[in-house]
Amino acid sequence: MSDVTRMTAAEIAGLVARGEVSAVEVTQAHLDRIAAVDDRVHAFLHVDAEGALAAARAVDDRRAAGEELGPLAGVPVAVKDVLTTKGVPTTCGSKILEGWRPPYDATIVERLREAGTVIIGKTNMDEFAMGSSTEYSAYGPTSNPWDLTRIPGGSGGGSAAALAAYEAPLAIGSDTGGSIRQPGAVTGTVGVKPTYGGTSRYGLVAFSSSLDTPGPCARTVLDAALLHAAIGGHDPRDSTSIPQPVPDVVAAARAGATGDLSGVRLGLVTEFSGEGAEPGVMAAFRDAVDALTKLGAEVVEVSCPHFRYALPAYYLIAPSECSSNLARFDGVRYGLRVGDDGSRSLEEVMSLTRSAGFGPEVKRRIMIGTYALSSGYYDAYYGQAQKVRTLITRDFTAAFEQVDVLISPTTPFVAFPFGSRTSDPYQMYLADLFTIPTNLYGGPGISVPCGLSEGLPVGLQIMAPTMADDRMYRVAAALESAVGTLTPPEL
């Protein structure tokens, strides 16, 4: 039998359902692959071999009992370490949660189990999902399987690298400003930020609650759609969950794979058509736009004048919400406690705990947020950023009156070498220049591989209206049918 680690999730599920391979064999093959390459890639913070094999055995037992299996049963999935997994360590890439074993599963994790997927481990990430390179993980960075001296993107670099290194065919990420799409772009994989409210935040450790969106990562558009369908939909435990079914993203991916985009209008965002992006990224992007045109799509230029203020608005809103959300890490209910020797006050112990437990980027964002929310600065910073958010939303609404989806490069630059953007934090923030507007608006976005620049993957981003996730899957699958998937060099 050919190597199951090279197969798509859809192929694996088919083999398992037909009994041509057991879920245990599939899981073991991926565990072996992790053992062989993860010392170099470091995609995983925790590999749950025991739990994964038990879940796989359960799938095999169900099949043996004649039960009908779901479309992803027996498929291994890697979960970003920002989602709680009952009894399995969850650190968010932070020392402050080292050793914590949550007493409950996130809704997404619960749905993965119900779907019969096999949770194989927890993936590395920038601490509390703040970063674009995984260099801000407290447990060391993840390497990009395309070039081990380069970053895999972030914050969900572990999930994306696990896919590109064939350690898992599916992964879960979370996208607050681009943390699924940018790692997807720089690792040559598919990353989806669903509509905000379309996937549950229950059990997703909060960074910026009005922006955080869990979503699927995969090597093909169809696999991402299958995973999206499995995890999405209303959750009464999340008060911002949209009480509507997820659009039929699987049907849309299959329709797009026929390569026919006639009648589809694509909007090229004028403000993102060059400024700030590497020439090689723009060249690959333009080639992809040509390919989409050949598939029958009509491409028109659309101006979204406030998108240039998205990055500054985001870096006020997200840190503000983070400064509030991360107040819960006070050394009382879970995680680290430092300096409690009987002589220190509660406040001293909290301050020492937070100082020892948080890394520099988290501290910077907590302080920026505290500043932006201070009386005297609130109106000029946080309040103004919220108004800009309204204007960005209006730009999207106006654009979607003219076109079906918007397109841009996913990120301005290909995977960069370790250390090249850590000395100036703002240089790191620029990685999310093109992905952030979607988060502020709340609509869905996908990054799909579109070519190479200097031998490294480039992603094309497709942005759709709120709850029209299916539209972007159709376009992404069509592009994939034209340009193919990307295969990294052997590790």
């Binding site: 500054p312 879970y334 409690d340 006050s345 020892a356 309204t390 939303t393």
Partner: protein, 115 residues
């Protein structure tokens, strides 16, 4: 002109319950200055009459039936605590025994930790 002073950063650190070293203060002051100058660009937008958006989902007052749902047991809720006493989270002393509760933050400073 810098957007934020070293003293202001020290104050923010205190408010944020972060015990930062002198060396960290130097680094953070420079970095926060760069970030704040960059994000201050939101001020260029004329938005006096624009309503703010706090959230993209137009849901308000999400209610559910008042029915008991499964929840964590006391043991589960306490399972991650760094320290506990009987069925409670144990915390360091909040008030000194011989001091009455004092008004907080009169001089803007709370207890300051040393790293």
């Amino acid at each position: 002109m810098s957007a934020i002073s070293r003293e202001e950063v020290a104050h923010l650190a205190r408010l944020s319950r972060l015990a930062v070293t002198e060396e960290e203060l130097d680094t953070f002051a420079g970095q926060l200055d760069v970030i704040l100058q960059a994000v201050a660009r939101v001020g260029e937008v004329v938005a006096a009459d624009i309503p703010p958006t706090s959230h993209s989902v137009p849901l308000t007052n999400v209610l559910r039936e008042d029915v008991v749902q499964p929840c964590l047991s006391r043991e589960e809720a306490l399972s991650g605590a760094p320290d506990r006493e009987e069925d409670r989270f144990r915390v360091p002393r909040i008030l000194d025994e011989d001091e009455p509760p004092s008004p907080r933050g009169e001089d803007g400073s709370a207890a300051e930790g040393k790293a």
